[in-house]
Symmetry: C2
Subunit: 117 residues, 2 copies
């Protein structure tokens, strides 16, 4: 059984992927690079503001790469950096844990939640 170190960087990791939508964005970008509008479609319920905001934070954290293709209409493609990809293992572990324990908690998940990371 892995041991959690006393001074673990969990807060750091959470600061980077703890945002309400970041794991979903991670999920999508991990499959393939996406455009802004496509991400909106793929992540139901997210507002433009939040998508832009979280993407910007993830970009600042070096998780996401933003490529602007000058054209009309505008085109911006987001993709995961190698740095961002290194998060997958840990996140996937917790995802699996969550899927294996969808038992009732004090806070109803309410969502089926399927696509694994």
């Amino acid at each position: 059984m892995t041991v959690i170190p006393k001074d673990c960087g969990f807060s750091t990791a959470l600061g980077v992927i703890g945002g309400k939508w970041k794991v979903e964005i991670l999920c999508e970008l991990q499959k393939t690079p996406r455009r802004f509008g496509r991400l909106r479609q793929l992540i139901p319920g997210i507002s433009e503001k939040m998508l832009a905001q979280q993407l910007r934070e993830m970009e600042a954290d070096g998780l996401v790469r933003r490529e602007v293709h000058d054209a009309s209409p505008p085109k911006v493609v987001y993709s995961l950096t190698d740095h961002g990809n290194t998060l997958n293992d840990g996140v996937a572990s917790l995802c699996q844990w969550g899927e294996g324990h969808l038992r009732r908690t004090h806070r109803a998940p309410s969502e089926p939640a399927l696509h694994a990371v």
Copy 2:
């Protein structure tokens, strides 16, 4: 506690260990069972309210076992359940990730000042 809507089981996992202090509690209880007051000492900065609250939530989630030894003064011992222990791998992964990327970025004032969890 931050709640991520529909996605993979990550939201479930976060709902369970996403609390501001839960990973620290996990760290301590993973070593050995502890009493309430001892946890307070071991987790600098946590208030009684939050400690009690987070422990209750973790208990409700089946992560923590609470044993009351009737005595004067009162004595309550907390320990991790097997269920709680299954979280270690995933959490440890993210902990390690965080340790490898301790570079601060844009993160705002709400952040608990990164006192290494």
